[in-house]
């Protein structure tokens, strides 16, 4: 599959790439060919900061099932954080 399916969002925080920590500006989420994962297609997440150059990138390639688990896990964790913060 060669989908071209990409969604992007502005994010804030930090990520650790090959040159160390950098400020995150954007996340690109695609459902397309992975580079490394042994999958026909994958949910690819790239945290980037274009101002810092190409090295400022944290990449993951997940199976669709793993990506859904990640979403659920993040939501559960955030929910617990919200409760704990009250």
């Amino acid at each position: 599959m060669c989908t071209g399916i990409v969604e992007t969002a502005e994010v804030s925080g930090s990520g650790k790439g090959p040159r160390g920590w950098f400020k995150l500006e954007r996340v690109n989420v695609s459902y397309d060919h992975p580079t490394d994962a042994q999958l026909d297609h994958a949910l690819n997440i790239d945290f980037v900061n274009e101002k810092e150059g190409l090295g400022a990138r944290v990449a993951v390639e997940l199976s669709a099932e793993s990506a859904r688990k990640l979403v659920e896990t993040i939501l559960v964790t955030l929910s617990r954080g919200d409760q704990g913060a009250v």
Partner: protein, 259 residues
């Protein structure tokens, strides 16, 4: 094709070069050619969406090994430089490489090959994945090619909602302008292009009386030439390469002997 025998001399030159691409802008390209005076037919290789990577360098050398002048332009040159996967991610996040610069770069690469004293003035184009789509596109938008090979190019048929600024027109819309014979290799289990969209393209080619040859491999999906990946299908890949070399020899002339 000249069958290989063990007493043959073999040699090739493979290197990165710079050449004027779309609008005369300088881009880089990987160029491989057999040693010897020629004349050789040429092939422009259009790299896939995962980038201008090692696999495409191998493919380029494979064509040179088989007696072709082969060039693979870096379609992502204008986005900067980094590892192929970083570049692919950047291009993907930027909405993809524009069709207009792709057509310009590929057309310029064909002109480069034809300008060489080693050239027999016949040039084909080959691409896989997004490069398959672009091979079809450039064969419709220019008259620079004598044969085109589209390997599992997705989004040749694009519904209006999938059109973007970078890809504003579905290539199928240009079918009537296809200027050379077309070979298509596809996998029956591919989700883009689906067998239905391949059939739709085939109907359009028939409608305009175009010279084409399509092969649909059962048990294969997308990217069945890519031996590092899970989609690799050895039987389909071996047969596909064979069909491609037969096709190119028919329309580009006999590739150079390695003697």
């Amino acid at each position: 094709m000249h069958p290989y025998t063990t007493d043959m001399y073999e040699g090739m030159l493979a290197e990165t070069i710079m050449l004027p691409g779309h609008n005369g802008e300088i881009i880089n390209a990987y160029y491989a050619r057999p040693l010897g005076p020629g004349p050789f037919p040429g092939v422009v290789l259009i790299h896939h969406m995962p980038g201008w990577d090692e696999l495409y360098r191998e493919f380029t050398r494979k064509f040179a090994h088989h007696g072709y002048l082969a060039i693979s332009p870096n379609l992502y040159f204008r986005f900067g430089h980094g590892s192929p996967d970083d570049m692919s991610a950047k291009v993907r996040g930027s909405g993809g490489v524009p069709d207009v610069s792709v057509v310009g770069d590929i057309d310029a690469s064909a002109r480069f090959l034809k300008s060489l004293p080693l050239s027999n003035r016949k040039v084909g184009v080959f691409g896989t994945c997004s490069g398959g789509r672009q091979a079809f596109l450039v064969a419709c938008r220019t008259k620079s090619f004598d044969a085109a090979v589209n390997c599992w190019g997705g989004n040749v048929v694009q519904p209006k909602e999938k059109l973007t600024l970078a890809q504003p027109v579905a290539p199928i819309e240009y079918t009537k302008d296809l200027s050379c014979p077309l070979l298509g290799l596809f996998g029956e289990e591919d989700k883009n292009p689906t067998p239905e969209s391949v059939h739709q393209l085939e109907e359009e080619l028939k409608k305009y009386g175009k010279n084409y040859e399509f092969h649909m491999y059962p048990g294969a999906g997308h990217g069945f030439f890519y031996y590092p990946g899970v989609g690799y299908r050895p039987e389909a890949a071996v047969d596909g390469w064979k069909k491609m070399f037969t096709f190119f020899e028919k329309y580009l002339g006999t590739p150079g002997t390695r003697r």
